[in-house]
Amino acid sequence: MTASSRPRDSADRIYFTLVALIGGALMIYFALVPVFGLNVAFHFYLMLWITMASAFNVSSGFSGYLPFGYVAFYGIGAFTTAILVKKVAFPVFLALPFSGAAGLVLALLFAPTLRLSGIYFGIVSLALAGICRLVITNMPEEITGGSFGLQLGSRAHPVQSFYVMMAVMVVALATILWLSRSRLGKALRATRDDADAAEMMGVNVPRVRLYGWMLAAFFPAVCGGVEAWYTNVVDTETAFNTLITAKTVIYAVAGGLGTVTGPIIGAVAMVWLDELIWRQFPLLNLLILGVATVALVLFLPRGIVGSILRRKPQWRRYVP
């Protein structure tokens, strides 16, 4: 018994050392960005995409659902913060938790869609995001600001919102790290691979799916709120833009679904690439995003981390 548990312990030791090293390096790097006057906007969006892609991973990587209307949660979060700050005069810090709560409420409303699977789920999710956008567009102008959107006025504070975004990212990554080793995470994976078998083993399938779904919905909603604060303006065209879903999905898939590090590496690589291309050929940006997506699916369907782990399955124990 002790002999068989020893390699497990040493594997865990390497695992946690890796987590601490990578996590620590990431945190120190991001914390120092405003101090050394690096590009705050670039790093803000890098953290935003890391959070979005990682949260998306809970739904697609752990639970096996591909929500192609993921932007709904982001948009609801953005509008919740904007409305509370602008119309009810909430301080931003108080409004952001409500954004998260709005994401959870929306997740509960959409919970019946978890009965569906595969492309049916994807198509319905897309349609529901469309409904959300239309409903908000058609709300009275006094609430949502109509087609002009809402301006938050003089509340912008890039450095403060940068650190709030960082806090959100750290909480999100810590949650997903916990999830990947927790009972819930194992139950989610088991349900994804074979729901009937998981149920036989005593997993409460609907509840486990709902928890995973709510986790996946909470973080994008908070991201939407923080981004609304950062840019100081919210409108339905940008807050419900399908490109937000596209980027989230592409970044997560580029890194590799199902691992904690995958979406992080995918987001870093792709955001950096995006910035590089954007600076060189601003017109080709959209085109290259599209071509990159096709190329990813065709040549790297398991993503960067997924492909490495397929070559070196023995590393699976050490890589978060």
Binding site: L134, L283, V297
Partner: protein
């Protein structure tokens, strides 16, 4: 009010016939290849731009553009099949990954059209004489009536092809059971390439008709038609061509009626509501039970 309703019915039939064509090509594609073409709307709009270019630079009228578009899109679809699908089918979950891949194709196609034609809305400045025809108490534009006649002809030809010819029967057989059809000796790769090319050609033709029926289109209109195609395909039952034809007309009527009775903004929600409602209440589609025999 009665005039409005009558107008809604006539326009619903016309718009619905175009939706039916958009849907039937997407459903063929799904049925045979089990891929979800998210870029279908972009293919349609590419057809509209195709007619636009033929008309503005070579002065080819839209009716003459139809056969040209059929051939051009058929060849393009055939080529695209061999670029995209064989590699895709090697991935872990081709059906779901196809959604993502065609999402990329859709972004690529929209970006290409944006680079070529910029973001302005375009329309083909072509009109028939007379511009409109009186149908009972209402006036309908001739272009729309011509489009209705063409979609009816194409649908009839398609039905004839699917039910009376050998390749058409092979396509339907492939939808029902892709394994069995290979045992009988059908080359499934060639058949799939043919289905992809046929669906693309139909999308291109539909695009030319879209340019006739709808006032304008731009590089980003594609997504709208993709959503419409999804609604029609789901309502008609995934992979059911006859269902898609019927569903297209029903959705066209529902949409036009919604614009008569509901405020403008609510009318758009009707489509999404139909989509979500169908998947929950009748996931096999309108004709679902009859195909399950």
């Amino acid at each position: 009010m009665e005039l409005l309703i009558l107008n809604g019915i006539v326009n619903g039939l016309i718009v619905g016939s175009v939706y039916a064509l958009v849907g039937v090509s997407l459903t063929l594609l799904y049925g045979v290849l089990r891929v979800v073409n998210f870029a279908h709307g972009e293919f349609v709009i590419a057809g509209s731009f195709f007619a636009y270019v033929l008309f503005t630079s070579l002065n080819v009228p839209p009716l003459l553009a139809l056969p040209v578009a059929t051939v051009a899109f058929f060849v393009a679809g055939w080529g695209l099949y061999y670029v995209l699908i064989p590699r895709l089918s090697r991935s872990d979950d081709p059906e779901l990954m196809s959604f993502l891949m065609f999402y990329g194709v859709s972004i690529t196609a929209a970006a290409l059209m944006l680079l070529l034609f910029e973001a302005d809305s375009r329309s083909i400045d072509y009109s028939f004489t007379p511009i409109s025809v009186q149908v009972g108490p209402i006036y309908v534009s001739t272009a729309r009536l011509v489009a209705l006649a063409i979609t009816a002809a194409i649908s009839a030809a398609l039905a004839l092809f699917l039910f009376r010819t050998l390749p058409g029967k092979a396509l339907r057989a492939a939808i029902m059971n892709p394994e069995a059809i290979q045992i009988v000796g059908v080359d499934i790769v060639r058949l799939s390439a043919f289905a992809f090319a046929l669906a693309t050609a139909l999308a291109g033709v539909t695009g030319v008709l879209v340019a006739l029926v709808f006032p304008a289109f731009n590089a980003f209109s594609g997504t709208e038609y993709t959503i419409i195609a999804f609604i029609v395909v789901v309502l008609g039952g995934l992979g059911n061509p006859v269902g898609a034809l019927l569903a297209g007309v029903i959705f066209g009527l529902a949409e036009q009626m919604a614009t008569v009775f509901l405020p403008q903004a609510m009318a758009q929600i009707v489509g999404f509501a139909i989509l979500v409602g169908t998947i929950f209440l009748r996931p096999s589609g309108l004709l679902g039970t009859s195909t399950r025999k």
